[in-house]
């Protein structure tokens, strides 16, 4: 029997001012990063397939990649406690720091997703295209318009090459959102490299779900079957995550038990991540395939909520565990 206590003050709570590490901002950032990765990969792949029946995936969805990425980066920025030094991320590169890799990967995603967007803008968003051209015309004697036209021409000409760069960039972003957590040996709940593929597949799945929200007809049918395969893969990887943690030594086994026995997290995990995030979408897809009518927005909305819940549960889980071990000492 061992019992340890803090004799002097260390922290009143690991969520107290100064000791708090990451909260909802980082969960949201990881979710939006995965979503961006998913949209980017799906858009690039459907552009390369050159199929007419994928209008939303190939021409419309890509607009949302830079928007979600910016939103995600905004939440990451909100989490920084020393915001004044934010540019320091881009004044160096630290090969051992996953955070450093991530900040540079984010920076690569911008030009790739914007070029991909420009390459389909005339067909996908003619209104926005005309609006931008009209507003650029009077600026700097029309030079900006010339640059814009050059970029559009370039992106249309090199569309396939850009799409081919977009796929590995998206994969890097998706995997990074998981590795950001898994690289910390000090947080045994996260200490599994399988979080990389888990977050990647979950990211592509939420990306597909988002495109599903916008699509209809044949495309919807195709995406629905793609998403159900992604969900099955995600369930399989989640299963592997559990096997790895349960057999990975006492610390990792005890940590992952928070998803089985935790007061708050276990029900949240099983209800919102596993049931409504993974199983229910599969059931809804199965029903729809059999011609039973279900509200069309339901399936993708459940997948999106499940993806967000997965990240909230994993991020919060590690810090609830930290709080429990601190409280035991107080």
């Amino acid at each position: 029997m061992n019992e340890s206590v803090f004799v002097t003050q260390k922290m009143t709570s690991s969520f107290a001012d100064g000791w708090h590490i990451w909260g909802w901002e980082v969960s949201l950032y990881l979710f939006l990063g995965g979503l961006t990765a998913g949209i980017l990969i799906l858009s690039a792949m459907s552009l390369l397939k050159k199929k007419e029946e994928l209008p939303v995936s190939s021409k419309l969805a890509i607009l949302w990649a830079p928007i979600f990425l910016s939103l995600g980066m905004f939440f990451l920025f909100l989490d920084l406690t020393n915001k004044i030094n934010v540019l320091r991320f881009y004044m160096t590169f630290h090969v051992t720091s996953v955070m450093s890799w991530g900040s540079w990967i984010l920076l690569v995603i911008y030009p790739v997703s914007i070029l991909l967007l420009l390459s389909v803008m005339q067909e996908g968003y003619p209104g926005i295209y005309k609006f931008i051209r009209k507003n650029l015309e009077p600026l700097v004697h029309g030079k900006l318009l010339k640059v814009f036209d050059l970029l559009v021409d370039f992106s249309i000409k090199k569309r396939d090459a850009i799409a081919k760069i977009a796929i590995p960039s998206g994969i890097a972003l998706g995997i990074y959102t998981g590795i950001l957590l898994s690289a910390f040996n000090a947080r045994p709940l996260w200490n599994s490299a399988i979080l990389g593929p888990l977050f990647l597949v979950s990211g592509i799945s939420t990306g597909t779900a988002f495109v599903l929200l916008l699509s209809s007809g044949k495309e919807r049918k195709l995406l629905l079957s793609v998403d159900s395969k992604l969900i099955l893969t995600e369930i399989f990887i989640l299963f592997l995550f559990f096997i790895g943690q349960i057999t990975g030594g006492a610390q990792r086994r005890d940590a992952v038990m928070i998803l089985f026995k935790g007061d708050i997290l276990a029900p949240i995990f099983w209800i919102f991540v596993v049931f409504t995030g993974l199983l229910l979408p599969l059931i809804l897809e199965w029903l729809e395939e059999r011609g039973i009518e279900v509200p069309q927005k339901l399936q993708p909305l459940f997948v999106l909520a499940g993806g967000l819940a997965l990240r909230i549960v994993l991020v919060e889980g590690a810090f609830i565990l930290r709080e429990l071990s601190t409280k035991a000492l107080l």
Partner: protein, 183 residues
């Protein structure tokens, strides 16, 4: 490792009485704000009544030789002092407050200042540069805290570690900590 200093703190758990003077001295010396602390004291009781034994430890940043906070830092704010192979410092001018280092530290030795940057024990670098001892060591009434260079085989800390049984905290984390506890 070319002549670099390996700073180490050796703390005698047999002498420590858990008075907390080290905690107060550190807070005063380094002007650590309310609610935060660079040093803390842990009391560990083991055994079953009536056969109990107690170990008291004054804990702080372990200034690891293989510090996960340094490798996790994206900007190089967490770094090793140029003269030393293990003195871990935070450059507040480079720190973004991303808190990757705090997530990486298995000892939870780091915290954010109200100004936003991350900080922790520096082994009182400003004092050791002047040849003085770290504040916690200077005030220890039991003289339980020792400090010095482990690369010098004649230093007090080297001699203590050669002659006494010792342990480090969470050796399984692979961080190669440099705060040693005589047991």
């Amino acid at each position: 490792m070319d002549n670099k200093i390996k700073y180490a703190m050796v703390i005698d758990t047999k002498l420590c009485v858990g008075c907390g003077a080290c905690v107060v001295a550190c807070k005063t010396e380094n002007e650590v704000p309310e609610g935060r602390s660079r040093v803390w004291v842990v009391e560990e009781v083991s055994g079953v009544y009536p056969k109990l034994s107690m170990e008291i430890r004054s804990e702080r940043c372990n200034h690891c030789t293989n510090a996960p906070c340094v490798s996790a830092c994206p900007t190089g704010a967490s770094h090793y002092h140029k003269s030393s192979e293990n003195l871990v410092l935070v450059d507040s001018k480079k720190c973004t407050g991303c808190k990757a280092c705090m997530a990486a530290c298995p000892y939870d030795a780091r915290f954010t200042m109200p100004e936003g940057y991350v900080t922790k024990c520096t082994f009182c670098l400003h004092r050791i540069e002047k040849g003085e001892n770290p504040a916690c060591m200077s005030v220890c009434p039991a003289r339980a805290i020792h400090f010095g260079d482990l690369n010098d085989s004649n230093s007090e800390v080297s001699v203590l570690l050669k002659s006494r049984k010792f342990k480090v905290l969470q050796p399984e984390a692979g961080t190669q900590p440099n705060v040693y506890y005589l047991v």
